[in-house]
């Protein structure tokens, strides 16, 4: 084109140049390595350091994994088999597998029950988590699930959870009968109906009717306990969190301050102190003679803890809604409960889901703290009975890595889901 230095002359290309392959240095492994690993000298050094770290890590872990012993009755037996070679004694996992998962007191012939409950948990969660994929009718199962899971895990007569569920149904029926008239009548009527129903059913004795062998909550342990605490507390804390968030947004100063103080107080203290409260103090505040067992007290405190955090997440969601939504609802004549229920909350909750999931992950990780107040969750099992036993005294790495792995898989899965959901919501919003 150097012929066109007379730049006033027009010029047009007749034949297009075809695409050409990039020069060798721009293609393939070499280019990739050059661009991604060795682009500058410091970068190359960094790569070498990283490679060295990686090598050290693999060199350390690989033989330990590869030479692992999966079948031995005790640590000393393991050591004998290994004859001084490096290798993990994973036999402790196979040997104590059930204890790690279910604790040491859950009757072993009943393991299928929590296992079933666990599997069904996914079925119950699926329509909530992937609300676009699964039919809405599956939500019915989600509603049934808590009662079913209770029955499976704790056992006892099926009529107990059925009555509990029927109480909710009764409450809901009354609620939906009166809700169109007034929220207050519907809401309190519903609660009253449920309470009356439960009170009435309290007169019957269900023992033995369609009963599974009952298991005390004291006997829950292992990873199962973490899962129970995690799911129960998160699900209970969402409604409380919503109430707190609404309260904090309210323009009634007293209600607002009650919520603010509660939220800030709970968020300002470590979970462990709340667990101490559950462990050593709460009993003093309960009516004399009542006997809440530890797991229940812990659930109360963790739920309080989680609801404060969830309230903050939901408050964010509420704040993100434009004021026009409230005004539009008002101008259509919807009253406050209706506006909240029909217009505000559905939107605010949707915005808050990723935040709630993050809180849930954090909370699930925090359930391990119950090991400090002598409950035998996964970590408690490891720190307590298993490491204390004569056979397995000293197998730290295998047990701790197992616990870490279990939590990693669960939490990583959930947080990946939350990220996926966040992207989904972003595209939804157009």
């Amino acid at each position: 084109m150097s012929d066109m230095h007379e730049h006033s002359v027009g010029w047009s290309r007749d034949t297009l140049i075809d695409e050409q392959p990039a020069p060798a240095a721009e293609r393939g492994v070499v280019r990739w390595m050059r661009a991604n690993l060795f682009s500058t000298i410091p970068n190359a050094l960094l790569t070498l350091v990283a490679l060295w770290c990686l090598y050290q890590l693999i060199a350390g872990v690989l033989p330990w994994l590869a030479n692992g012993i999966w079948d031995a009755p005790s640590l000393s037996a393991c050591r004998e088999i290994l004859q001084g070679a490096t290798g993990g004694c994973f036999a402790v996992l196979t040997e104590r597998w059930n204890q790690l998962l279910f604790g040491f007191q859950y009757p072993s012939e009943l393991y299928w029950r929590p296992a079933t409950a666990f599997i069904l948990l996914f079925v119950a969660l699926a329509p909530v988590l992937f609300y676009k994929v699964f039919p809405r009718s599956m939500l019915i199962f989600t509603a049934i699930y808590p009662f079913l899971a209770y029955w499976l895990i704790w056992g006892g007569s099926i009529l107990t959870p059925v009555c509990a569920a029927l109480g909710f149904v009764a409450g809901y029926l009354v609620y939906s009968r009166f809700i169109t008239q007034s929220f207050a009548i519907g809401f309190f009527g519903g609660i009253a109906a449920a309470l009356v129903f439960w009170w009435l059913t309290g007169f019957f004795n269900f023992t033995g009717i369609l009963a599974l062998e009952p298991v005390d909550s004291r006997n829950m342990g292992g990873f199962m306990l973490n899962l129970i605490l995690g799911t129960v507390c998160v699900s209970l804390s969402i409604p409380i969190g919503i109430a707190l968030a609404l309260g904090r947004q309210s323009n009634m100063p007293i209600i607002k301050w009650i919520c603010v103080i509660f939220i800030e107080f709970v968020r300002g203290v470590p979970l462990i102190t709340l667990l101490f409260v559950a462990n050593v103090v709460l009993a003093y505040f309960l009516p004399p003679g009542s006997n809440f067992d530890l797991i229940l007290r812990v659930i109360i405190m963790i739920t309080m803890f989680a609801s404060a955090y969830i309230a903050e997440v939901i408050r964010g969601g509420l704040a993100a809604l434009p004021k026009g939504q409230y005004e539009a609802a008002d101008s259509l004549g919807l009253d406050y409960p209706q506006a909240i229920r029909l217009v505000i909350l559905p939107q605010a909750l949707k915005i808050s889901i990723p935040g709630i999931v993050n809180v849930a992950v954090g909370l699930f990780k925090d359930t391990t703290l119950v090991s400090i107040i002598s409950m035998f969750d996964l970590v408690g099992m490891i720190r307590g009975p298993i490491l204390a036993s004569t056979e397995w005294n000293g197998v730290y790495w295998e047990l701790l890595s197992f616990a870490a792995l279990l939590f990693f898989v669960t939490c990583y899965g959930i947080s990946q889901y939350s990220q996926w959901l966040e992207r989904q919501l972003n595209t939804d919003r157009r």
Partner: protein
């Protein structure tokens, strides 16, 4: 204003408490207040009844009693004859110590990991991603226990340093890494030594002033003074000179293996180190994500515009990217500091005597005063948290002012 057109002042009717917007908020607030009061009254009456049944009372008198136990690491004078209150304060200081150390380390780790994760070195950025995901998704308690186990089960016992041909030896002859902790030399100051320290501190101020001056010169005269080497020189040279001129007034007390243990020098307890590093690495993973998000929040266009103006990469970082990224990074950073402080209560799992270990641990055990100690414990933590949030608010407001 003619009162005629005003709505007639209706006389007050009871139904207005529910139906009238003016009164109904009072009604609801009153109901809420009554509910809360009732709840507290109920809990309180239970408490009183339970205490009476058990023949106990609530009293903080025990705080003045001698605690009777020893604490292995205190920042203040403390013996087993000191009061429980003093033990709690020693614990509080230990909490603050480990929190501050962990905050600093977590920031360093987090910033490094966050920046490296954005590096165009594929391997490094992937490694950092693995680090972040791995640490974020496993409970901090497990990390604390793992690191503590590394400390106790992997590091050599002090006895390994004994003998003619010991299994372990001290680093530079000064640092001993044992499973009880790390022993490092302790500077011993003669009177003149304090002068050297003073000189050193003044030099640091001097270095800061110099950098200010360099910027001023650039602004006023358009000369860019070198900063890196002069800073190093200003910080080090006077102190070193003073050290030698004054006749080496600072000696090092090097830890030595005594009867059972190393003695002399400064001891960093194994439990402190475990807690410190576990908190730092765990929180560092979260901070790394924030740093990454902060830097990414500065659009590529900003960097390109700065580059097109002829700025060099380091200046682009300092003048354009960082000031913008910091606004995004700092608020979550501070809430991570809060988390570190709260998580430091897990010290109890490794026997580090922080606030939870002293007040909420041994004092509680010894006195049996559960309600009192736990209330006090929560109060202490609440105070720390509230002060940190207050700082956060001040910072946020300061930044917001600059923005608009």
């Amino acid at each position: 204003m003619t009162t005629l057109s005003d709505p007639p002042r209706e006389s007050f009717r009871l139904s207005m408490l529910v139906n009238d917007t003016r009164y109904r908020s009072y009604t609801f607030q009153f109901i809420a207040l009554v509910c809360v009061a009732a709840l507290f009254a109920y809990l309180g009456s239970n408490l009183v009844a339970n205490l009476r049944a058990a023949g106990l009372n609530i009293s903080y008198d025990f705080l003045g009693d001698p605690s009777g136990y020893d604490i292995n690491q205190t920042l203040i004078d403390y013996t087993s004859q000191s009061s429980h209150l003093r033990a709690s304060i020693a614990g509080l200081l230990n909490t603050l110590l480990v929190s501050i150390l962990a905050c600093i380390t977590a920031t360093i780790i987090g910033v490094a990991a966050g920046v490296l994760r954005l590096s165009n070195n594929w391997l490094v950025s992937k490694l950092m991603a693995v680090y972040v995901e791995m640490f974020r998704n496993v409970p901090v308690l497990i990390w604390i226990i793992i690191i503590f186990t590394i400390m106790t089960a992997v590091a050599p016992a002090p006895s390994a340093f004994r003998g003619d041909d010991p299994d372990a030896s001290m680093l530079f002859g000064m640092f001993a890494f044992t499973n009880r902790g790390v022993y490092i030399p302790k500077p011993l100051f003669e009177p003149l030594g304090w002068v050297v320290l003073g000189v050193f501190l003044i030099s640091i101020v001097g270095a800061i002033l110099y950098r200010r001056y360099a910027t001023k010169v650039l602004y006023d005269e358009g000369r860019l003074l070198p900063t890196t080497w002069p800073t190093v020189a200003i910080v080090l040279v006077p102190a070193i000179l003073a050290y030698f001129i004054l006749g080496r007034p600072i000696a090092l007390e090097i830890p030595e293996l005594g009867g059972f243990n190393f003695s002399g020098g400064i001891t960093l307890l194994g439990s402190l180190i475990a807690l410190w590093f576990a908190l730092a690495i765990y929180t560092g993973a979260f901070i790394a994500e924030n740093v990454r998000a902060g830097i990414q929040s500065v659009s590529r266009g900003q960097t390109e515009a700065a580059a097109a103006l002829g700025l060099r990469p380091r200046r682009i970082m300092n003048l354009v990217v960082l000031p913008q990224a910091l606004r995004v990074i700092v608020p979550p950073l501070i809430s991570h500091y809060l988390n570190i402080t709260k998580n430091s209560s897990l010290a109890i799992a490794v026997g580090y005597m922080d606030l939870t270990g002293t007040l909420g641990g041994i004092t509680l055990n010894q006195t049996g005063r559960a309600i009192e100690t736990i209330l006090l414990l929560m109060l202490f933590y609440l105070l720390i948290s509230l002060s940190i949030s207050a700082i956060m608010n001040v910072y946020n407001n300061a930044v917001r002012l600059k923005e608009r």
